[in-house]
């Protein structure tokens, strides 16, 4: 009876599969297997080639809608949990007979002593840093959620104000502010975003975002404000963006004059 080539190569393929599981798997190891199982080299090479080629399938980046949707869901979930939270256990002193009250009082006083001792113990510097770090993370999360997923303009304004109070901005907040400036439908929210971004204009990314936002604005109020900001920042890169705005949009006369004046000042 002839050996089925597929079955006879099974040990070789098993060895290949076992190696493919390793993160550091190298093509040279396939060749080593081919030398070990010369009759199966074709099967080994083609299986490995297929395994490698599926890497060519590229995956797009998830869209902003997914991120916004997640933070909205998280926000709703938190709100719902807070509203529905009720004490899991309600103690009824009057019907409690399972334990001597005297011992309960003693245990309570002892527990209170332990708790207060721990409570009044000064925090070590490491604990203070950790607590501050956690608080900052939480602030970033909340501010991001408000900026990206709230339907209410006042919520988004609150998110922007929270960002302004941060010592430094993390990349998520920088991008959320940028998206707010570019796409928020409320002019006041966009103006507030500019104000906060100006506050952090020493950050190169924030500064660049402010400059790049110029040609995308359609509100005269926002356009004028950005022109003022560019004069304050004295950043010559803004000239190109302002020229683009002048070319691409039919600006109100007053805005047009302001833009030309800004270009002259910057040059």
């Amino acid at each position: 009876m002839k050996n089925d080539p597929k079955n006879s190569c099974q040990p070789a393929l098993d060895a290949l599969l076992a190696q493919m599981e390793n993160e550091n798997f190298q093509p040279a190891e396939v060749e080593a297997l081919c030398r070990q199982f010369p009759d199966c080299s074709e099967s080994l090479r083609s299986t490995y080639a297929m395994w490698e080629s599926i890497e060519e399938i590229d995956v797009p980046e998830p869209g902003q809608a997914m991120h916004a949707g997640f933070y909205k869901m998280l926000n709703d979930f938190q709100t719902e949990t807070t509203q529905t939270a009720s004490p899991r256990f309600q103690f009824d002193w009057w019907t409690w007979n399972g334990f001597s009250l005297k011992w309960a009082v003693i245990a309570g006083v002892f527990a209170l002593g332990l708790f207060s001792g721990n409570f009044f113990r000064p925090e070590t510097p490491q604990e203070i840093v950790l607590t501050q770090h956690e608080e900052n993370n939480q602030e970033v999360d909340v501010s991001y959620a408000k900026l990206t997923s709230s339907e209410s303009a006042s919520d988004r304004l609150e998110g922007i104000q929270m960002a302004k109070k941060m010592e430094q901005l993390d990349n998520r907040i920088i991008e959320a502010l940028n998206q707010t400036l570019l796409h928020d439908r409320n002019v006041n929210v966009r103006l507030s975003a500019i104000e906060t971004m100006l506050h952090f204009a020493d950050n190169p990314q924030v500064r660049e975002n402010l400059i790049r936002a110029i040609p995308h604005q359609t509100s005269p109020l926002v356009q004028m404000t950005l022109a003022e900001v560019m004069i304050a920042l004295k950043d010559k890169r803004a000239v190109h963006e302002i020229q683009e705005l002048l070319q691409e949009q039919q600006l109100e006369l007053e805005v047009q004059m302001k833009m030309e004046e800004t270009i002259e000042t910057l040059l």
């Binding site: 599969l17 599926i54 995956v59 797009p60 997914m66 991120h67 997640f70 938190q78 999360d141």
Partner: protein, 175 residues
């Protein structure tokens, strides 16, 4: 995740930031549909929050996450009986690589499309075993636990899946 379980729900934001892209990639390779994948990612995080009390902190968090992701995908399959998804990646921006000339780019794009089509033609079990092993970095043993089967069964799915992919690619390329 333990912090989330203890009630600090805001920490789910950190887990999301850490894992959303991997999870999106997992669903995208399984469904070949970006919008559907985004929905599935959101469903998984919702379930992670909803069933946080069941997290026991044993083993890697990603293992628990993928067990929920797998069930979320299976629910969708059962509900919609969707095996053949339409690729909607065209709605996502793709920037051409200027270093490649037009012909190379065309061939590469065509091959990618064939691979996507071929991957959708093998059975969901084989597809998932390949994706979890190749892209999500799970060991065969871990995938076996997720799938409630033996490690050998997973190895067999990966091997047969690759063989089928190879055959499908040959057929598609010869058309």
């Amino acid at each position: 995740m333990l912090r989330v379980k203890e009630g600090d729900l805001s920490k789910m934001g950190l887990l999301y930031e850490r894992h959303n892209r991997d999870l999106f990639g997992y669903f995208y390779r399984l469904t070949n549909n970006a919008t559907r994948s985004e929905d599935l990612v959101q469903k998984v995080f919702y379930r992670l929050l909803k069933y946080r009390h069941t997290y026991r902190g044993e083993g890697k968090f990603v293992y628990w996450m993928y067990s929920i992701a797998k069930n979320t995908w299976l629910d969708l399959l059962k509900k919609k009986r969707i095996i053949d998804y339409r690729d909607d990646a065209s709605s996502y921006e793709e920037f051409p690589n200027p270093e490649k000339n037009a012909e190379d780019l065309l061939i590469a794009t065509e091959r990618k499309n064939l691979l996507k089509t071929a991957l959708q033609q093998i059975s969901p079990e084989k597809r998932e075993a390949i994706v979890l092993s190749k892209f999500q970095g799970l060991k065969y043993q871990e995938i076996a636990q997720l799938s409630n089967c033996t490690e050998n069964a997973i190895k067999s799915r990966v091997q047969r899946g690759l063989l089928e992919l190879k055959d499908i690619m040959l057929k598609l390329e010869s058309r």
